[in-house]
């Protein structure tokens, strides 16, 4: 579709762009203490965008001369991005980190980031892939370093920049190898060109796949590309940590699935032959090993943490590992499982981080000891935190179990050669119980019983917690409609 015609199908992104502009202008008009009000403009824009995304429905097409796909698959991830951005903006109102800063830019940068994530979810051209990743990365650097008076935050940002630049450089190298082999930047043309390549190109092809995987792996914080994660997550404002652990990860998975399915696949939507072009190396096994390593490393290191925030940072690596379990399969049910997991993970992880933000605001700390006796002092907050911890562990009847259930089901369905992976996965969930339940232990078992009860004073806090807790609980036993939605969203644009 030509550029001009494409614009009529580009409403969600256009609305987001306008939102960004409005936010920047609004920020100029507000005084510093009022700069929080920019958030409402952004929230309004996000709501309109969500509406526009829902309106575009099941349309299946390419835009801007084959650089962007429009399909239900992208829409699903756009909805995830919008939900998480909305929640994170709302959560920012309570953030103790942001007190004393002018935050207008913070919200407009977040809207730009959402725009980048939209592109990540729908790019079908390697140039667009790189552009989208860079938009998201650069905005993440800003946000991670937003607390300019805090050394940790500056350090986080700098580490992030270095890692980000390094991994996107490697990725760019991989992409250029691919371009050299195929002479095109478009996914579908690449696939056809790869099918024509002789065996002498194998080495270059595998190298490029590995290099590109480095870039994606960095985005979803897979081992061994995860080293930036804990420090960045710890130094960033907690709201941004929550955001980084959910939204870019979701978009990263979307991009990874789309890229490997379309460039290295054989033209079928999803299925066993997805890795056709790479069948000279045990590629699925390689990804499976990465998945196993990711969850194991994430879990083992999370156990040793003394700060809840850092524990959640490492555990988010483990969660990426669980989702990666379904990647080597590249099957319909595997991708389905990843989508289900991401949706469930969004609510429970944002919820957990929000409690961290809230407790940090009340007790001034984020170590396990700051949670002592919380169950007695703040029964409501501690109650929902327990729910989030149980859900993150993956126990029924919570959303976390359903996410894991679908992933494990996909792995087991793939046949007995992947049973070991499922085994590693379940053992890891048992390991994760130890550190998640530790939070619960500190809240209820340690610390003295207090007779004075503090309920959240602000309506907004209560509302956000409830809004995150309800899906976390309800999706644990009622997920028919969600399953239906994901099923309908599992349509990936496969070229004209």
């Amino acid at each position: 579709m030509s550029n001009l015609n494409s614009l009529t199908h580009f409403w969600p992104e256009l609305i987001l762009t306008v939102t960004v502009l409005v936010a920047i202008i609004a920020d100029l008009l507000y005084r510093k203490e009022d700069s929080f009000k920019v958030a409402w403009w952004v929230l309004g824009g996000l709501a309109l965008t969500l509406f526009a995304v829902r309106m575009s429905g099941g349309a299946l097409s390419e835009l801007f001369m084959g650089t962007i796909a429009m399909d239900p698959f992208a829409n699903f991830f756009k909805v995830l991005v919008l939900i998480s951005t909305t929640f994170v903006i709302l959560m920012s109102f309570d953030s103790a980190d942001l007190k004393g800063y002018r935050v207008g830019e913070y919200f407009s940068i977040m809207a730009i980031m959402a725009f980048g994530l939209f592109l990540m979810a729908s790019a079908i051209d390697v140039i667009m892939v790189y552009l989208a990743i860079e938009i998201v990365s650069i905005m993440s650097f800003f946000l991670a370093g937003y607390l300019k008076k805090k050394q940790d935050s500056n350090e986080a940002s700098l580490k992030y920049v270095i890692y980000g630049a390094f991994s996107s450089g490697i990725m760019l190298y991989g992409l250029s190898l691919l371009f050299g082999l195929t002479g095109t930047t478009k996914f579908f043309e690449m696939r056809e060109a790869i099918a024509q390549l002789g065996p002498e190109a194998n080495l270059a092809l595998i190298l490029s796949a590995v290099f590109i995987l480095v870039g994606f792996g960095y985005k979803i914080s897979a081992v061994p590309f995860h080293f930036w994660t804990p420090d960045v997550y710890e130094g960033s404002p907690t709201t941004i940590t929550a955001y980084l652990s959910v939204a870019p990860k979701a978009a990263g998975f979307a991009m990874l699935i789309r890229f490997f399915n379309q460039v290295f696949g054989d033209g079928y939507p999803l299925g066993a032959e997805t890795w056709t072009a790479l069948n000279n190396v045990p590629w699925p096994q390689l990804v499976a090993v990465l998945a196993a390593a990711t969850m194991t490393v994430g879990n083992l290191v999370a156990i040793q943490q003394s700060s809840v925030k850092r524990m959640l940072a490492y555990s988010s690596i483990a969660h990426a590992g669980y989702m990666m379990m379904a990647l080597p399969l590249m099957s319909q049910s595997g991708v389905y499982g990843i989508m289900m997991y991401l949706l469930m993970y969004l609510f429970m992880n944002l919820g957990a981080f929000y409690v961290v933000i809230y407790v940090q605001g009340k007790t001034g700390g984020e170590s396990f000891d700051d949670y002592n006796g919380l169950g007695w002092r703040m029964p409501f907050v501690a109650g929902v935190m327990t729910l989030f911890m149980v859900a993150l562990t993956g126990l029924p009847p919570t959303a976390g179990f359903i996410g894991k259930f679908y992933i494990f089901a996909a792995v087991i369905e793939a046949g007995s050669q992947y049973y070991w992976l499922a085994f590693v996965g379940v053992i890891n969930s048992v390991v994760s119980l130890y550190y998640y339940i530790r939070v619960v232990k500190h809240m209820y078992l340690t610390g003295d019983r207090s007779e004075s009860i503090a309920l959240p004073t602000s309506m907004l806090t209560t509302a956000i917690l409830i809004a995150l807790a309800i899906p976390t609980f309800v999706f644990g036993w009622y997920f028919s409609d969600v399953a239906e939605w994901i099923n309908n969203s599992l349509v990936i644009f496969q070229g004209m």
Binding site: S416, A422, L433, Y434, Y444, L445
Partner: protein, 516 residues
């Protein structure tokens, strides 16, 4: 009454919601609600028993509802002669448990909410016939149990609670893999009734990494259940959890939760993978033997009365395993062997029930003395018989029942197990009768040290067992005595179901055992 089984399962949740609306300082009202709810539940299970048709071995009062059609998940409930006694046991112990925990005064609201949630979880496991539902209920039990041990338990409660949690979760996730493997190999269904029909054929001859699929699934499921039983070497969480848990929770743990493991093996391993039974029966008998001897030896060495009772559970559950293993006797085609299989499995189920009542009684009585003396050191007492004659009498009843004295129900079930297992596992049975001897030794020795000899001056003014405590012990003692002299009602109740079970094991397993 329609949906009788659903009512039995969900009634505690209704009670939990009701408790949520009671202000936290009205602890009497909270206890009354919990008692009322468990009372009604007990009445419902008695009613269920009355209208249950014991002459057929199939599932009755089935309920079926769509749940998650896209994954073939259905809400299926049903009761048969195997689950009915367990449901009754849970309702009874749950009801008694409320009164046992009457003097809980820390966070009463939380305690009874979790207590009722636990009740729902256990009932659900016994009644669910959809594997997904079964698994959900199985896991739902864990969190309340963690809190109940961790918050209201003894000095080492945190460690005991997390150990219990991690052990059980490790078992159940292996079970999850097995459940999913069954789902995908047997025609995409979680319906246990369908799986019972198809699993054996679907898995026949299938190999995973050179191992028979049946064996792999059998072992995965078995480990999940064995941790709950607990079978040696997975038993180490049990003494700790028992000792640290508050009395009522120990009662539920020993009385009902341990039965879940055996129930799971009989309900799932035996019916779905009968071929595996033949392969594993020998190991099962040996594990049973180890449990018997190991549990008894450990019990003999204990100084803490509660730990002694906890190890006696390990010992008693060993007999159950031995009885279950006897099912393979029926593979021989003559009538005698069928009778020994019936005796073995019937004895195992009866032993489950008896251990439920007897160990509950034992733990309640341990709780009684602990509430008064604030320690449970066997050596620290002496001559209690003259201080607390009524209490002594009840402890005598419980200990005698525990050591399998004729006239008590434990004797009947243990005798049945030995009779059933003897034709096939002669050596094992002979060695495990030694367990009975050790049993008598540790119970009688403990009894002697606590109740006879010179009276300990410190405990001259210990109050006698009170009415509330008597109310919790008497029903259990009565059941133990009645079933000891007249076990017919129980055996008739389970006979038809167990015959179906034995037949299915024999008919499937007999054929396929050779081909595995």
């Amino acid at each position: 009454m329609n949906h009788l089984l659903s009512w039995i399962i969900w009634l505690p949740i209704i009670g939990m919601v009701a408790i949520a609306f009671v202000p936290r300082d009205k602890s009497e009202l909270i206890k009354q609600i919990a008692a009322a709810v468990s009372g009604i539940q007990l009445l419902l299970t008695i009613y269920l028993w009355q209208i249950f048709d014991a002459s057929v071995g199939t599932f009755q009062f089935m309920e079926r509802a769509e749940w998650i059609p896209s994954f073939n998940i259905t809400y299926i409930l049903g009761v048969d002669g195997l689950s009915l006694p367990m449901v009754f046991l849970m309702a009874l112990i749950g009801f008694i448990g409320v009164f046992v925990s009457w003097n809980i005064n820390k966070a009463v609201k939380g305690y009874f909410s979790l207590f009722l949630l636990l009740n729902t979880g256990v009932m659900g496991v016994f009644l669910a016939l959809d594997f997904f539902l079964f698994y959900i209920f199985w896991e739902v039990m864990l969190l309340p149990m963690y809190f109940l041990i961790g918050m209201w338990g003894g000095p080492q409660r945190e460690y005991a609670a997390i150990k219990f949690f991690i052990y059980t979760l490790a078992g159940s996730v292996l079970m999850l893999i097995a459940i999913l493997a069954l789902y995908f190999t047997c025609g995409n269904t979680f319906d246990m009734l369908v799986l019972m029909e198809t699993a054996s054929t679907a898995l026949n001859g299938m190999l995973w990494w050179g191992m028979s699929a049946i064996k792999v699934i059998w072992v995965l499921l078995f480990i999940g259940f064995a941790i709950k039983v607990p079978v040696f070497p997975f038993h180490t969480w049990l003494p700790l959890a028992h000792v640290e848990a508050p009395t009522a929770i120990s009662v539920i743990l020993a009385g009902v939760l341990l039965k879940l493991g055996v129930y799971g093996i009989l309900r799932i391993n035996y019916t779905m993978l009968p071929d595996g039974v033949f392969w594993f029966a020998g190991a099962l008998a040996v594990l049973g033997l180890i449990n018997v001897i190991w549990g008894a030896m450990c019990a003999l060495a204990q100084k803490d009365l509660k730990k002694l009772v906890a190890y006696s559970s390990v010992n008693h559950m060993g007999y159950t395993l031995l009885g279950m293993a006897a099912v393979i006797a029926a593979a021989g085609m003559n009538g005698d062997n069928l009778i020994s299989a019936q005796a073995g499995v019937g004895g195992a189920v009866f032993q489950m029930f008896n251990h439920g009542t007897i160990s509950a009684m034992l733990f309640i009585l341990v709780g009684v003395i602990y509430d008064r003396a604030h320690h449970r050191d066997i050596e620290g007492f002496g001559g209690l018989a003259s201080q607390m004659p009524v209490y002594t009498a009840f402890v005598a009843v419980a200990f005698f029942a525990g050591l399998g004295l004729p006239g008590f129900s434990g004797f009947v079930s243990e005798a049945m197990i030995f009779i059933g297992a003897f034709p096939i596992f002669k050596t094992i049975v002979i060695i495990s009768t030694l367990g009975i001897l050790l049993n008598a030794a540790y119970f009688l020795w403990a009894f002697q040290r606590m109740f006879f000899g010179p009276a300990n001056e410190k405990y001259n003014d210990l109050p006698e067992i009170n009415k509330r405590e008597l109310f919790t012990v008497v029903p259990l003692a009565v059941i133990t005595l009645i079933l000891g002299v007249y076990p017919r009602p129980f055996l008739d109740l389970v006979a038809a179901t167990l015959n179906v079970l034995i037949e299915s094991v024999v008919s499937f397993g007999g054929l396929a055992a050779a081909s595995m």
